[in-house]
C-alpha cells in the first residue's frame, strides 16, 4: 500500500503523479494501490489526516480535494494527478503561525477529547461551510423552499446533518456544533 522508496521506474503497476499539497507541488511515484490517505501519511509524512476505518465510514481521513471535502481513504492517489489537496496541516494561516478561526473555535469550545477525529472534523467543516455558502442543500433544508440563490442559513440541525459523515468516538458532537456556529456568526 505504500509508495516505494527509492521510487522504482514507473511500470504497469506504478505511476508518477504530482499533487499540490497545501500549496506545494509534490511529485511522487505511487503504487497504483496507494490511497491518497497513505500517500499523505506514509509518502509525504503528513500524518494529520487520520486512518479510522479505512472504508469511508468514519470521516477521520477527510481532506479537501480541489476545495471539496472527500474521504482520502477511498481515493486512489494515481487518479488525482494534478489535483490540489488541503490537509489539516495547511489550514492554519501565515505558514502555520496563526490558527484558522475554526481551529480556534474548536479550542475555545473544547470540541474534542482524544482529538483523533479532529483533523477530519476541521476539514469536513471547512468543506461544508463552502457548500452551504454556495447554496447547496442538505436533507435538513426545506425542499419546498424555492432553490436558494444565496447561502443556506446553517441552523444546528443543518450543521448536524451536514457533519454526519464525521464520527466522534468521544461524543464531542454538541461542542463541535457550537464551534461551527461560532465561525458562521
Amino acid at each position: 500500500m505504500q509508495p516505494t522508496t527509492p521510487p522504482p521506474p514507473p511500470d504497469a503497476y506504478h505511476s508518477e503523479v504530482t499533487l499540490r499539497v497545501n500549496g506545494t507541488p509534490r511529485a511522487l511515484t505511487v503504487d497504483h494501490r496507494t490511497t491518497l490517505l497513505d500517500a499523505l501519511r506514509e509518502g509525504l509524512g503528513l500524518t494529520g489526516a487520520k486512518k479510522g476505518c479505512d472504508h469511508g465510514q468514519c470521516g477521520a481521513c477527510t481532506v479537501l480535494v480541489d476545495g471539496r471535502r472527500a474521504n482520502a481513504c477511498l481515493l486512489l492517489a494515481v487518479a488525482l494527478d494534478g489535483c490540489d489537496i488541503t490537509t489539516v496541516e495547511g489550514v492554519a494561516k501565515d505558514g502555520g503561525d496563526r490558527l484558522h478561526p475554526l481551529q480556534q473555535a474548536f479550542l475555545d469550545r473544547d470540541a474534542f477529547q482524544c482529538g483523533y477525529c479532529t483533523p477530519g472534523q476541521l476539514c469536513s467543516a471547512l468543506g461544508m461551510l463552502a457548500e452551504a455558502a454556495a447554496g447547496h442543500p442538505s436533507l435538513a433544508t426545506d425542499p419546498d423552499a424555492p432553490p436558494a440563490q444565496g447561502a443556506v442559513p446553517l441552523t444546528p440541525d443543518e450543521i448536524r446533518e451536514r457533519m454526519s459523515g464525521n464520527l466522534c468516538r468521544c461524543g464531542a458532537y454538541p461542542h463541535i456544533v457550537q464551534a461551527v456556529e461560532d465561525v458562521i456568526r
Binding site: 503497476y13 479505512d54 442543500p137
Partner: protein, 331 residues
C-alpha cells in the same frame, strides 16, 4: 490487494477500447464502492480504466424539458442542481439522504447505480455468498438478514440494492444510456437492475465492457410533485431499511392521473409498485384508497425470519409520502 494497471481515459471511445483491450478491467469512477471492495478482496481487477475525466460531467436541459445527466456528475452536484431541485425533487432528496457530504462529493451518477449490495456476507470472503462466489451458498438466508429483501428474492440470494438515487429514478421513469462494444442502447432505470433468480451474481442488465454515459430524466415527470423518504437505524449516514419515492399528478377533480411509486430496501432492485399504481389510477388518493392500493402491492411480500417489520414500515411510509404529495397528509 492485487497490483493493477491504470489507464486514464479521455473519451468514451478510449474508455470502452481500453476496457476491451484489458481482460479483467473495471471502470473506476469515484471509487467509493469499488476501492472499498478491492480492499476487502471482493473485487480484484487487473486494470482500472479511470472514467472521471471523460466529458460526461454536465447536466443538460433537453429541448422537451427533460434533463440529461452525465455519468460522472457527482452526487452532490446533481442534488444541488437548480433544475433537478425544481423539476425532480425526489432525485435531489434521495441523493441528500444517502451516504455523507464527503462521499457525495466523490460518488458519481453511474457509479451510484452500479454500487454492490451491502450484505455483510457478500463483503466477507470467509463466508458463503452466491453473489460473490456462485454456488457457495447464501449465508444470509439462515443468518443475519434483518436488512434483506422481502419481495422478489430467490432461494439463492435475498440481498437488497442499496442505492437511494436508483429508487427515485425508477419512480420518475428515468433511463440509463449505455455505450458498449456493440453500440449504444437505452434501458429504463426500473428495468436496469435485476431480480436475483438463478443468477444473483448479476446485479443489472449491463453487459461486460458497457459504459454508462448518462441518465435521462423524462419531460413527462418534470415539474410534477415528487418526494423521497427513507427509514433507517440512525437519523443520517445510514443505508435505508425501507425507502419510498413517488411522483404524483392529479386531475382537476383530484383523481390520480399519474402515479410513479418505487420502494427501496425491499428487493434486489428498486421495486416499482405497478400494481399499487394501477389500483390508484383514476381514484382519489384518500388514506383508505392509498392503503388498499399499497396493500395490494405488498401482498406479494415473503418476509424472512427477522425482517417482517419491513412490510408494515413500507406500508406506512408509502401512505405518508403519497398523502403528503396529495396534500392530505403532512410528511
Amino acid at each position: 490487494m492485487r497490483p493493477f494497471a491504470y489507464v486514464r481515459a479521455r473519451t468514451v471511445q478510449e474508455a470502452t477500447a481500453a476496457h476491451a483491450a484489458h481482460p479483467g478491467a473495471r471502470y473506476l469512477a469515484g471509487g467509493t464502492n469499488l476501492v472499498d471492495l478491492m480492499k476487502l478482496g471482493v473485487e480484484a481487477p487487473e486494470t482500472l480504466v479511470d472514467v472521471t475525466r471523460l466529458p460526461l460531467d454536465a447536466v443538460e436541459e433537453l429541448p422537451d424539458g427533460g434533463l440529461r445527466v452525465g455519468a460522472t456528475v457527482r452526487n452532490s452536484d446533481l442534488a444541488a442542481h437548480p433544475l433537478v431541485r425544481d423539476r425532480y425533487a425526489a432525485v435531489s432528496r434521495a441523493l441528500l439522504s444517502g451516504a455523507s457530504g464527503q462521499l457525495r462529493n466523490t460518488a458519481t451518477t453511474g457509479g451510484n447505480l452500479l454500487q454492490r449490495t451491502r450484505c455483510p456476507y457478500f463483503q466477507d470472503l470467509t463466508k458463503p455468498c452466491n453473489k460473490r462466489a456462485p454456488g457457495s451458498g447464501c449465508g444470509a438466508r439462515d443468518g443475519v438478514h434483518r436488512d434483506h429483501a422481502v419481495l422478489g428474492h430467490s432461494y439463492l440470494c435475498i440481498a437488497t440494492h442499496p442505492s437511494d438515487l436508483a429508487v427515485a429514478l425508477a419512480a420518475l421513469d428515468a433511463e440509463v444510456e449505455l455505450h458498449g462494444p456493440d453500440g449504444e442502447r437505452t434501458v429504463p432505470v426500473a428495468d436496469f437492475h435485476r431480480l436475483p433468480g438463478d443468477h444473483p451474481e448479476l446485479d443489472t442488465v449491463i453487459q461486460p465492457g458497457e459504459l454508462i454515459t448518462a441518465v435521462t430524466l423524462p419531460a413527462a415527470t418534470a415539474g410534477l410533485p415528487s418526494a423521497y423518504r427513507k427509514a433507517r437505524d440512525r437519523a443520517s449516514y445510514a443505508f435505508a431499511l425501507v425507502s419510498v419515492a413517488a411522483v404524483l399528478d392529479l386531475d382537476e377533480h383530484g383523481a390520480v392521473r399519474h402515479l410513479g411509486l418505487a420502494f427501496g430496501g425491499l428487493a434486489h432492485r428498486p421495486w416499482r409498485a405497478r400494481r399499487a399504481e394501477a389500483a390508484l389510477l383514476g381514484a382519489t388518493p384518500t388514506a383508505e384508497n392509498v392503503a388498499r392500493a399499497v396493500a395490494a402491492e405488498l401482498d406479494a411480500a415473503e418476509p424472512l425470519r427477522d425482517n417482517a417489520y419491513k412490510v408494515p414500515l413500507a406500508h406506512r411510509l408509502a401512505g405518508a409520502v403519497i398523502g403528503g404529495l396529495a396534500g392530505t397528509h403532512r410528511t
